[in-house]
């Protein structure tokens, strides 16, 4: 079918992305070999010379020649970046200087030994991380790598050669490399070079290395490196063909589910899964089913699972933890729900004979019930995996012997009670007493003690209550059945009770985590202000992780800053700030407990929202705390995700608010032009008309007419003054060039000033003032609030019949003061109440009225700038009411009834 051959859009997209990424990113070229001594560095330097000859800016960042003359000769003529001197435990180490390289920013940088582990105190723990940063900075990197350093091949190499390599590089580095040049040398020639002393071997490892460089090993390593390169080429071919649509390569995508348990084999199973996934080019997921019984394990045992999950993530898998009681059931339902075609499990390391006898092993059950899903069993022998053992040796489970003693005591108590009851009750009732003892032991002391009490119970029952008494002998053989049933019931009860308790414990732990998250997200959802959000985030993270936290937000220039720096000095430290900034720019966690910039005091997580990074969450654990385990890390990441989304929401809201203000400003400007042309032209026409008739025909005008013209000029000029004042106020308020100069003051003063200014206009009116004596002081900009009052009063004076009273009143309310300007005029037309505060709506509803224009809009802007509201309504008994509120935020300054005594008078 035609469609099948059409290029897969996603594949094309992926290729374009890869192309694009590589255009802004630097290109990585790896000189890849089977073992030391095959000539990788040599080949790399030769390539560097070629590029240099082409005129490319090539710089050597770091090369180790091991004193080989041929290699050293090649270094000549290449610009070399000075190395960084690091003092570690008295030794001076030479390290690659990442910052110098980033600052120099050559086109191509040569960095030897990709698998190298950096000296403590370097920014990244590993050199491949340095290289990643270089690539991101757009620098092309040439580097070298041996096959035994590849993470997923690590244990294969160990198996073949018997030498465990600890410095590994994630497979993804090799896979995403733009070029891999295989440097190959037949084993015989390599051995010859070795004999000639051309291969550098560190003295301390001479014997191990001698073992390593055996022909068999070398052949195997060579095969591995060749296969590895071939796989890569094959993958490239697949990508190419897929994009070209030449062939539909995979009818269905394979999906592999790798199941791990908290045992030393976890890491090995993950690596095996990875190899399989790679060969099949399948998606893969690593699953850990957390079972109630795992709670009883020590932290070190659980750390195995954690380690496996972490490795899975590093190798590019999705790592998932679910909890459930029946691992088989959980794994299968998970696999079915998500369409996994293959399941990889480890061979059990230990044999739980009891369990397997009755229910079959996990692997057996899985195989039996997996249906059409293939199950792969990989060997999970723990012995060879000592290298992968967690840093904390698993402590022997501390056996609490007192539990057993208590269980025995319980059985003794049961026997006493049963003894008392024996005279009046049947034997079957006595059994019940013992079963009760088992239940008590199971709930209080756990599995072991409850099993002991079950066995002791049966024995005691036999000894005391089954004839012949006080012996274990049994006269009537039907009692044997009784014992067996009793034992079975007791064991079942004990198992069920213990399991129930364990499940409750797992549930409680989950509950706690979910609860912490839930309460954070709930609080964030109900919080609107940025500062309150940050406070909530900090509080929740500090509660859950015991440490000091800080939220740093990026400013417009991308620099991070706290909004409440005073609270935590560690954020002020320039070294810490630099780490935070790095984390923000790279959107990767770093700092304490990670492999990047591990020397930092705190752990820094990027806060990445849906539209990009918004800031950084810093957590400085209490000094004696251990680094977070994967579980905690995941939880913290989830916290960070929640926080990032919430913060992004708040920032977007702020941005939206700003752009709304900007749009409003734009509307204002347009309306302003229209209004200015009208409001300025009308009085101007009158003034210039009157003035011209005075100027050119004064002697012909009778005195009353002249007076009339002069008055016209005066009145129209006043009108223009008012307009100009309002325009000026509006302009300044809109452009925010006026910062509010708020001071706490009595309203009375502002009232007085406004009435004073309108003395003339209000001369023929009764002005009723209602100011309660106990009115609190209000934080206002008196100049601006006076404008509000003047505009409202002027408005009232202008639009109500002369002689009608005007009332000015103020009253304190809940957290605010309300001011009313009331008149007895004709009131407002329906619908006009809210519209009159909009800019320049004057005239539409009341054509005869002049100049509402800007006055009320200015009043609104000022009131809103103070955080208050303004509105108008009709009074029920006639007239209009203009009301506004002013919030009473903060505390008025201390105002002693009698301020400091003045200096003595003159």
């Amino acid at each position: 079918m035609e469609n099948d051959r059409r290029p897969d859009p996603e594949a094309i997209l992926a290729r374009i992305e890869a192309d694009e990424r590589s255009s802004s990113r630097g290109r990585l070229k790896i000189f890849f070999g089977a073992a030391a001594g095959v000539g990788k560095t040599f080949a790399m330097l030769q390539a560097a010379h070629e590029r240099l000859a082409e005129g490319v800016d090539v710089v050597v960042g770091h090369v180790v020649t091991h004193g080989r003359a041929e290699t050293e000769a090649l270094l000549a003529g290449l610009p070399i970046l000075p190395e960084r001197q690091v003092t570690h435990r008295g030794h001076v180490l030479e390290e690659f200087d990442l910052d110098a390289a980033l600052a120099r920013k050559p086109k191509v940088l040569i960095v030897d030994e990709l698998a190298h582990t950096n000296a403590p105190g370097s920014r990244h723990a590993r050199r491949h991380q340095d290289v990643e940063e270089l690539l991101r900075a757009g620098i092309d990197v040439y580097t070298t790598l041996n096959v035994q350093h590849i993470e997923s091949l690590n244990d294969l190499v160990a198996q073949i050669t018997g030498v465990t390599v600890r410095e590994t590089v994630p497979d993804s580095v090799l896979e995403t490399a733009d070029d891999v040049a295989l440097v190959d040398l037949p084993p015989d020639e390599l051995l010859a070079r070795l004999r000639e002393g051309k291969v550098y071997i560190p003295e301390q490892a001479e014997r191990a290395m001698a073992n390593f460089f055996r022909k068999g090993n070398l052949i195997a390593l060579r095969e591995m490196s060749l296969r590895c390169t071939a796989d890569r080429v094959d993958a490239q071919m697949q990508v190419y063909r897929k994009a070209e649509g030449s062939e539909r390569t995979w009818p269905i995508t394979e999906k592999i589910l790798v199941c791990i348990s908290p045992s030393p084999s976890a890491v090995r199973v993950v690596r095996a899964g990875r190899r399989l996934a790679r060969r099949l080019r399948a998606e893969w997921t690593v699953l850990f089913v957390e079972q109630p019984r795992h709670v009883a394990l020590g932290e070190a045992d659980r750390e195995y699972a954690t380690q496996g999950l972490r490795l899975a993530e590093q190798l590019g898998a999705e790592a998932i933890t679910i909890s459930g009681h029946d691992a088989t059931e959980e794994v299968l339902s998970f696999a079915r729900a998500r369409n996994f075609s293959r399941i990889v499990v480890g061979k059990p390391a230990r044999f739980w004979w009891l369990r397997e006898l009755f229910v079959g092993s996990f692997v057996e059950r899985l195989a039996r019930r997996s249906g059409d899903i293939d199950v792969f069993i990989v060997h999970g022998d723990a012995k060879e995996d000592d290298a992968a053992r967690p840093a904390i040796p698993p402590p022997k489970p501390a056996v609490d012997w007192s539990g057993y003693a208590w269980a025995a005591g319980t059985v003794a108590a049961c026997s006493v009670i049963a003894g008392v009851m024996a005279r009046h009750f049947e034997l079957s009732n006595l059994i019940m007493v013992y079963l009760l003892g088992v239940v008590i032991s199971a709930t209080r002391w756990g599995r072991g003690p409850s099993l002991l009490s079950a066995l002791l119970g049966v024995a005691a029952f036999d000894f005391f209550f089954v004839p012949p008494f006080l012996t274990f002998a049994v006269s009537d053989y039907q009692y044997v059945v009784t014992f067996l049933v009793m034992a079975a019931v007791a064991v079942t009860i004990s198992t069920l009770t213990v399991r129930f308790k364990e499940q409750a414990e797992v549930a409680r732990q989950r509950e706690r985590r979910t609860g912490a998250l839930y309460s954070l997200s709930r609080e964030l959802a109900s919080t609107r202000s940025l500062d309150a959000m940050i406070a909530a985030i900090r509080r929740h993270v500090e509660e859950a992780f015991e440490g000091r936290t800080a939220v740093l937000l990026a400013g417009e220039d991308g620099r991070l800053a706290t909004r409440d720096a005073a609270a935590h000095p560690f954020v002020q430290d320039p070294k810490e700030t630099a780490v935070a900034q790095w984390v923000h720019e790279h959107a990767e966690a770093a700092g304490r407990g990670t492999s990047t910039l591990a020397g930092a005091e705190a752990l820094y997580l990027p806060l990445v929202g849906s539209r990009g990074p918004v800031g950084v969450l810093a957590l400085r654990p209490e000094p004696d705390r251990r680094p977070l385990n994967t579980d905690q890390m995941h939880l913290l990441e989830t916290f960070a995700n929640q926080a990032a989304l919430a913060l992004e929401r708040a920032l977007l809201a702020r941005e939206a608010h700003r752009s709304r203000l900007a749009a409003e400003g734009e509307n204002l400007r347009n309306a302003l032009l229209a209004a200015v042309s009208h409001d300025l032209r009308t009085p101007l026409a009158a003034i210039s008309g009157a003035a011209s008739s005075l100027a050119f025909s004064e002697d012909r005008l009778p005195p009353p007419a002249r007076r009339e013209l002069v008055l016209t000029i005066h009145e129209e000029a006043e009108r223009m003054t008012r307009l100009a004042n309002n325009l000026l106020d509006m302009g300044r308020l809109q452009s925010r060039s006026v910062a509010l100069r708020r001071e706490w003051q009595p309203l009375e003063e502002v009232f007085g000033a406004a009435l004073q200014e309108l003395d003339l206009q209000l001369r023929d009116r009764e002005v009723v003032l209602r100011l309660p004596a106990d009115l609190p002081q209000v934080p206002i900009d008196e100049v601006l609030i006076e404008r509000v009052l003047v505009n409202l009063l002027e408005n009232a004076a202008r639009y109500t019949p002369p002689g009608t009273p005007i009332e000015l009143a103020a009253a304190a309310g809940q957290g605010e003061v309300r001011i009313d300007v009331l008149d007895r005029g004709p009131g407002l037309l329906p619908g006009e109440e809210s519209r009159i505060f909009e800019k320049f709506v004057r005239g539409e509803t009341a054509p005869s009225r002049r100049g509402i224009g800007l006055g009320l809009a200015v009043a609104r802007s000022i009131v809103e700038a103070h955080g208050g509201r303004i509105w108008a309504e009709n009074r029920p008994d006639g007239g209009a009411a203009f009301r506004f509120t002013l919030p009473l935020k903060g505390e008025p300054p201390e105002s002693p009834s009698e301020p400091p005594e003045p200096e003595p008078g003159p």
Partner: protein, 233 residues
């Protein structure tokens, strides 16, 4: 007011304002000297010995504040500054630098004449004419010597601070007094920033002296600038 027409020096760059005052002031018994820039104004002030200076704050060469400062280095001539509304800070700066009063543009003739008269009266007092010990305006009487205050014939009891505040305003009666000036004169230089002292005291004073404190007859607030004791009740 003196018998001969008092001389007014107008330092203003806007020709229309100069034209308007040139037509108006002589009609009200003033002699007018004009200067269109700050430097020129300083020269005129030194050579023509005006009795009052009308100074625009926005001048093309040196700003009005600078003119005020330089004038005050050698002259006590009353200065009335002219400035647009909304520039309260400039006004306060000029007043604190030694200007005597201000007028907001645009202004009416009556307002201008009232300011000029107050300025001239204060200048003549400073020239040795001691103000009467009793200030009276409308129903308000303040006897500075006896430290007695009456409104509408009723004696009013003031706290020492209130009295002192009132005394400063009486001393400058009719002129605007900036918040800073009041604070410094009443509480001393250390109190210049504590505007709320002033508000509290002014509130108390108004409630004792004014019939309607929110619509004062005597103690007028000039928003953003300071206070003025009105003389004509």
């Amino acid at each position: 007011m003196s018998d001969v027409a008092p001389t007014v020096l107008l330092i203003e760059d806007d020709p229309q304002i100069r034209r308007f005052l040139r037509a108006t002031l002589p009609a009200h018994g003033f002699r007018l000297i004009e200067a269109e820039a700050g430097e020129r104004g300083l020269v005129e002030a030194a050579t023509r010995n005006p009795e009052v200076v009308l100074l625009d704050l926005g001048l093309p060469d040196i700003d009005g504040l600078e003119v005020t400062r330089r004038l005050r280095e050698w002259s006590a001539v009353p200065i009335v500054v002219l400035s647009a509304r909304g520039l309260e800070r400039d006004k306060v700066a000029a007043l604190d630098a030694g200007a005597d009063d201000y007028l907001t543009k645009p202004f009416g003739v009556e307002e201008l004449l009232a300011r000029l008269r107050v300025a001239l009266r204060h200048a003549s007092r400073a020239g040795g004419d001691v103000p009467g010990p009793v200030f009276a305006a409308g129903g308000l009487e303040v006897d500075l010597a006896a430290r007695r205050v009456r409104t509408a014939g009723q004696e009013v009891h003031l706290t020492p601070t209130e009295f002192r505040l009132l005394a400063v305003l009486v001393k400058h009666a009719g002129k605007v007094v900036t918040q800073r000036q009041l604070l410094v004169e009443v509480w001393g230089p250390g109190a210049a920033g504590n505007a709320h002292y002033l508000r509290v005291q002014m509130h108390g004073l108004r409630h004792k002296l004014e019939k309607t404190p929110a619509r004062p007859r005597y103690l007028i607030t000039e928003p953003g600038v300071g206070y003025r004791l009105r003389e004509e009740g």
